[in-house]
């Protein structure tokens, strides 16, 4: 008898526990069918949970870097624009200088142009984007240059001009009679020995510019860092400033024809060097721009990959889940109806 004996209690508990287990699974399956993700991520993934977290962390890092790259790109675009504007100015001025070289009174014609160009150079160097001075190196909070008239730079040049020979000429530029007497050789010597050194580093700082020679660097991907600015101490900008200064502050229209031509020749030389060096700076920044573009594109692909992997780990096939819901429902229904059927099976009812 024992072999086929079953107690009334175990008969009813079997069904009860089946119903209970079914309900637990049903609640999980319902959540999964509606959200499309595992109901209990940690329990399902187990030791792989950490990997899921790593992927999420990588994903947010990469998305963030793509965003910051957009900011850096904006800064570089503005810098490139400024440099190409300055190059255009320099080229135009060079033509004007060459035109004025042989003309009598040419000096007075190009003087206003030199003033405008100098002002535009200073303005450009002081360009800001989101409150950052683009050409200040890492010293982004301070405008790198001050307006030329009355600046420490002008004072320094005036002092050098008025210094006693053999260094200077021994009289100020306003002394037109004496200025007219400066020979071409004297002017050439003054430019080479006095003027040129003022535009070399480190004499350039801080008289002309307070910029830091250290350029800003930016992290453009999880591993890459690139230079993302050009500072006002670069050769091209110094050459430009020197060329404009020669025309503005070395006596100008008061000079004799020979001395004026020396000044013009020197200025044209500097402008040529400036254009060359500006293109070098632009080229360097262009490389950075290309690197950022490449990095952003690469990271966009990575981002998709990470997203795909996260989905693979976390997602549940909603169709499968909803099928599971249906089958669990019918299973529970069956258990419940069986329970009531079994309760009807009682000997007492048949006596």
């Amino acid at each position: 008898m024992n072999a086929s004996f079953i107690s009334t209690m175990s008969l009813s508990t079997t069904l009860r526990s089946t119903v209970m287990k079914g309900q637990v699974s049903l609640s999980k399956a319902t959540t999964e069918a509606t959200t499309g993700r595992h109901a209990d991520m940690g329990e399902t993934l187990g030791p792989l949970t950490g990997r899921d977290f790593s992927l999420r962390s990588d994903y947010s890092r990469v998305s963030n870097l793509i965003d910051t790259n957009a900011i850096v790109t904006g800064r570089l675009d503005a810098t490139q624009q400024a440099i190409s504007n300055l190059t255009a100015d320099a080229n135009t001025f060079m033509q004007q200088l060459l035109a004025a070289r042989g003309t009598a009174g040419g000096a007075s014609v190009i003087l206003p142009n030199a003033q405008t160009n100098m002002a535009s150079l200073v303005d450009t160097m002081n360009t800001t984007l989101n409150g950052q001075y683009l050409f200040a190196g890492i010293n982004t909070a301070v405008p790198p240059m001050t307006s030329y008239p009355g600046s420490p730079a002008q004072t320094a040049i005036d002092a050098a001009f008025a210094a006693l020979p053999p260094a200077g000429f021994g009289f100020p530029q306003s002394n037109t009679a004496s200025v007219a007497g400066i020979t071409a050789a004297q002017m050439q010597s003054f430019i080479t020995t006095q003027l040129d050194p003022m535009f070399q580093l480190p004499a350039w700082n801080p008289t002309w510019s307070t910029a830091s020679s250290q350029n800003t660097t930016s992290r453009i991907s999880t591993t890459q860092t690139v230079t993302t600015s050009e500072n006002a101490n670069a050769q091209g900008f110094r050459d430009l400033a020197e060329a404009y200064t020669m025309v503005l502050s070395l006596g100008g229209s008061a000079l004799g024809q020979a001395a004026f031509q020396t000044v013009v020749d020197a200025a044209v030389g500097k402008l040529g060097s400036a254009v060359y060096n500006l293109s070098l700076s632009g080229g360097q920044l262009g490389t950075s721009q290309q690197q950022i573009k490449d990095a952003s594109e690469r990271m966009a692909i990575q981002k998709d990959l990470y997203n795909g992997q996260i989905n693979k780990m976390e997602a549940v096939d909603p169709t499968e889940a909803s099928v599971r819901v249906t089958s669990l429902q019918s299973q529970i229904e069956m258990s419940l109806s069986l329970t009531s059927q079994l309760h009807k099976l009682n000997l007492v009812d048949f006596l």
């Binding site: 107690s7 009334t8 209690m9 187990g46 792989l48 950490g50 977290f53 947010s60 600015s229």
Partner: protein, 488 residues
């Protein structure tokens, strides 16, 4: 006088029938009691006819019962571990998409640092880094609280468990004594045996037990590790509860009969039961997880530490993240409780009068520690260094049970993996154990339980036998009457 013999036999049959009916009734009453075992009358035929109920038996199978006790212990232990791990995982990890975990907070901190490095002059971004640092510290502190509260809760549960064990042992002593007396007197002790089995079932939930039968149906109980729990008299089970838990607190061991049975110094450690589950949570799982949190805290403190920049051989001191001290803890060595005391340096937090720009410039510990010596607003050297350090591998204490060499974020995620792996396997184990317990209970119920239909059928038989006996008595009576009438 064979008629008198027939009458006597019928009378005996009636009384035996009465006892059997009473048993059917008892069985029906106990049909829904899990501890009740089916009773049956042992009928003995007397020489010369007639029957009587010699004794009352009970359906039992000690092997199945022992198996059920074992399953009960394992299941209770496993479910204690699982519920703690579930609480821990819910409070400290949660769903990955909620970004509540420590690793998610650190990852957010790294992202904001990278953002800050793109615009190092932006105060708002610096402030954002401080906010993320505060969130990280907050997560570490509150996780430490959760872990230590859990240890305290496990300790309190152990105390409850121990007092339950003592109460059960007292009851066991009474019942056991009654059984021994009843056995000697030859009275019906089956109900007391049921009660004793019930006590053993309750006891096995608290700790794993083995039983040994003695003379006169007496019983001794031993723990599954062999310590005497009850032999004639109950042995003392003692435990001194600890009220407040910190990372450095070590909980007391449960002592049975003078022998420590839980914890690292247990001579005869318990193998199963709720007590084992609770002490595993209190002394191993929670402390290991705490060590991992402490290692995360130590990693953060050392990554953000500030080195001397003035070449005067000053010591390296704590930076953005600090704790009660300012020296940097030794590498790859757990500092117990560090995750509970880690905080954001007041010199950096604007809410505490600090300057968030010190993240870029350094100088949290004074002028000698300033990295940005020129005060340039676009200085990214320090921030880049921090970003690099956060993504560089460093060593972690192997005792923490997570990665030994990883970046801070990967160490934190490996800690999450550790926790979820434990929970996942505990959940599978617990499912298995509870299924096993269900099956054992079912097997036991089928061995000793009551089938009401069966009892009803028995009742019908008894009814028939009763009417037959009654009919016999009536017939014998009639026969005697006819005899007496003939005599008269």
């Amino acid at each position: 006088m064979s008629l008198t013999v027939a009458l006597n036999t019928a009378k005996q049959s009636l009384s035996a029938n009465g006892v059997q009916t009473a048993i059917v009734s008892r069985n029906n009453a106990g049909a829904n009691d899990a501890t009740y075992s089916r009773k049956s009358a042992l009928l003995v035929t007397q020489p010369g006819g007639g029957v009587y109920v010699a004794s009352i038996g009970r359906a039992a199978d000690s092997a199945v019962f022992r198996h059920m006790l074992g399953a009960n212990s394992s299941s209770a232990g496993q479910s204690a571990i699982l519920s703690s791990l579930e609480k821990l995982s819910g409070a400290t990890v949660d769903d990955p998409q909620n970004d509540q975990s420590v690793s998610a907070k650190i990852s957010a901190l790294l992202s904001t640092l990278e953002q800050y490095s793109a615009s190092p002059d932006d105060t708002t971004l610096a402030q954002n880094v401080v906010t993320k640092a505060l969130a990280t510290v907050d997560a570490l502190n509150s996780d430490t609280n959760t872990v230590q509260e859990m240890r305290g809760q496990a300790d309190a549960d152990m105390a409850t468990s121990v007092s339950t064990i003592n109460t059960l042992l007292q009851k066991f002593q009474e019942v056991n004594a009654t059984i021994v007396k009843g056995t000697i007197a030859g009275s019906d002790i089956t109900d007391f045996l049921d009660t004793r089995d019930g006590i053993l079932t309750s006891l096995s939930e608290q700790l794993g037990i083995r039983t040994a039968n003695g003379p006169n149906n007496s019983m001794s109980i031993y723990t599954d590790s062999g310590v005497t729990l009850f032999d004639i008299v109950p042995r003392s089970v003692t435990f001194a509860a600890t009220q407040n838990y910190t990372a450095t607190t070590t909980g007391n061991a449960v002592i049975i009969d003078g022998v420590p049975v839980t914890g690292a110094n247990a001579v005869m450690p318990l193998q199963s039961g709720k007590l084992v589950g609770l002490s595993t949570v209190r002394d191993q799982l929670a402390t290991t997880y705490q060590s991992q949190l402490d290692e995360v805290a130590r990693g953060l403190i050392s990554i953000f530490s500030e080195a001397d920049q003035s070449a005067s051989a000053l010591p390296t001191l704590t930076g953005l993240f600090t704790y009660t001290g300012t020296t940097i803890p030794a590498s790859a060595t757990i500092v117990p409780g560090l995750a509970g005391t880690i905080k954001v340096n007041a010199a950096v937090d604007p809410a505490q009068g600090g300057n968030s720009m010190r993240i870029r410039d350094g100088g949290i510990n004074g002028v000698a520690y300033v990295y940005n010596t020129t005060g340039a607003a676009g200085f990214t050297g320090r921030i880049s260094q921090l970003v690099n350090l956060m993504t560089t591998q460093s060593s972690f204490d192997p005792a923490a049970g997570a990665s030994t060499s990883a970046s801070i974020i990967n160490f934190a995620t490996s800690s999450t993996s550790w926790l979820e792996a434990k929970r996942s396997s505990a959940s599978a184990d617990s499912d298995y154990q509870s299924t096993l317990l269900d099956r054992s209970n079912q097997a036991l119920s089928n061995v000793r339980g009551v089938n009401t239909d069966d009892e009803m059928a028995k009742m019908l038989e008894l009814e028939r036998s009763y009417s037959a006996s009654a009919k016999l008595i009536a017939t014998v009576d009639q026969m005697l009457q006819s005899l007496l009438a003939a005599v008269r």
